[in-house]
Amino acid sequence: MSEKLVFDAPEIMIDRPTHYCPGCHHGVAHRLVGEVLTEMGLVDDTLCVGSIGCSVFIYNYLDVDAVEAPHGRAPAVATGLKRAHKDKFVFTYQGDGDLASIGLAEIVHAANRGEKISVVFVNNTVYGMTGGQMAPTTLVGQKATTCPDGRCAEEHGQAIRMSEIIGGLGGTAYCERVSLDSVKNIRRAKKALRKAFEMQVNGTGFGFVEMLSACPTNWKMDPIAANTRIKEEMIPYFPLGVFKDVTKDGEE
């Protein structure tokens, strides 16, 4: 009796135990990035800019050159790196606290300059690594450790919709919001990543993919309930879709 391999990971994925919690979507997002980089033949030319949060350890899972950026500054670090190495593929991987709060200026201006970089934005509506504090993306009514009674619009403001902002900037070439809650949506997410990455490779410009993701630990839910929450609470507020594509409408 022999074993038959029916599903494998691309070589770029480093085979090691994950530090992510059960049901966390970072593993799925990492894998999608790894698959697309592999399929596009970019592995040897990729420079990864990590950020601060749970995904600071992305460099433990992807077998590519990497640099660690200060909190929120990945788009600025990527700008410097890409300007120094125009022929390389440069991407940032950032969470919602990192990108939509402390790093808001850096992401908006990198996009507006039309830097030839790609941004993977993982939005799980909470600060994960620090233990579940309110994020700029926390939904009104959602409980977090710094808003235990739920986010209050009058006091805390409302969840910020990043894809709508980035999609509205002149320098953005591609911007799409996807979700990792179902097989169908994960397939769509991979296509979006590929599209955004292609925009960098062919010199079109700045690509941005927002991935609605689960954080079962800080949401205090099991993974299945977390997926249901994405579908029933997050997607209605953060609509999926393409917010900008300069290759449409004959703009390219």
Binding site: D45, V64, V67, T79, G80, L81, H109
Partner: protein, 354 residues
């Protein structure tokens, strides 16, 4: 006779031209007075002369992080600013020190604290020489006192940055940045990046992947990294330099840096012409501090007077240098007021005659 052409330019332009001569290919900056001549000059010349990149960043925070990114790629990169802006850069400078990335940061020091003024000051001595951001780290610090030194020290700064894989600060001030002097441009030998191709990230084709980071969570890892950094800072001590002027028979040695050191030199010359036994030590590197020079003078029984355009910062390093043997008096010229060489006559004579 070599035909070296002199040009009449501002210190800010000398700094810019020195960076280009050093082979700098990436500039990131944000407008702030009194250093705006630098980004204005490099906005066209970076591409024209070095086929390089110029980015006007959205903030000093972003500019310094762009510097971090370009440095990670092994590029000769720089940013420039003035005091309030350099405060904002400290985050990235700390990360660069922790990740051992080379880069050049120019501070055209203006008055503080807070918004201060746009005049000259040496108030950022502590921030420059004590790391400036969080954690146990140091940056090399060069202190030009003339436009020519502004040019020369940029070339030196890039070499030191790559030699030690460390940020290098060029601490100029509004006087050096804004005055015009004859400068003799020169081209250094081909840039030596001291093996940057062996650590920079440029795609892992045919080699193991590389990781540049300042996070060390494993047991003992951060202690090990801090030991590495401390031994590097120890090795840097060999770079300490000072301009030693008329000290051989001096009874009183004045210690002053940057443009103030230059002005004090005029005062010392005048006092020498009157037969007064006074000398000057002008540190050219502020970190490492030229402690040995001062200690040797202290052993000869000399007395010290530190003069700065601040409320007393470098004087701490002078005292540490001569500790156990001598001490240093202090004369501070308040930032916000432009001194002339006459302003230093009375304090020097007072301490000479004490």
């Amino acid at each position: 006779m070599s035909e070296k052409k002199r040009i009449f330019i501002k210190g800010n332009e000398a700094i810019s031209r020195g960076a280009l001569a050093a082979g700098c290919t990436c500039y990131f900056g944000y407008p702030i007075t009194p250093q705006n001549d630098i980004p204005e000059f490099l906005s066209t010349e970076m591409a024209a002369v070095n086929n390089g990149e110029f980015v006007q960043a959205e903030s000093e925070v972003a500019a310094a992080n762009m510097l971090l990114g370009a440095a990670a790629g092994g590029a000769r990169a720089m940013t420039t600013s003035s005091s309030p802006g350099v405060s904002l850069m400290q985050e990235a400078i700390s990360y660069m020190a922790g990740s051992e990335l080379p880069g050049v940061i120019v501070n055209v020091n203006r008055g503080g604290p807070g918004l201060g003024d746009i005049g000259s000051s040496q108030g950022d001595y502590f921030q420059s020489t004590r790391g400036g951001g969080h954690g146990d780290y140091r940056t090399l610090v060069l202190a030009p006192g003339t436009c020519q030194e502004g040019y020369d020290m940029m070339i030196e700064a890039f070499d030191l940055a790559f030699k030690y894989r460390n940020p290098v600060l060029v601490l100029a001030d509004a006087i050096v940045g804004q005055m015009k002097e004859p400068v003799t441009p020169w081209e250094p030998k081909a840039a030596d990046n001291h093996g940057a191709e062996d650590w920079c990230i440029d795609g892992a084709k045919g080699r193991e992947k590389r990781l540049l980071k300042s996070l060390f969570l494993e047991d003992g890892a951060l202690a090990g990294q801090n030991r590495n950094l401390q031994s590097k800072y120890e090795a840097m001590q060999a770079e300490a330099r000072a301009d030693v002027f008329e000290c051989d028979d001096a009874e009183l040695v004045v210690v002053a840096f940057g443009s103030i050191g230059r002005i004090v030199k005029s005062t010392v010359r005048r006092l020498r012409s009157e037969g007064k036994k006074v000398g000057l030590v002008r540190p050219l590197t502020l970190y490492p501090f030229p402690s040995e020079v001062l200690r040797d003078l202290a052993k000869q029984g000399k007395r010290f007077l530190t003069i700065e355009q601040n409320c007393g910062q470098m004087v701490d390093d002078v005292r540490l240098s001569v500790r156990g043997i001598a001490d240093s008096e202090f004369h501070g010229h308040m930032p916000g007021d432009l001194p002339g060489s006459d302003d230093f006559l009375a304090p020097i004579i007072k301490h000479l005659e004490d």
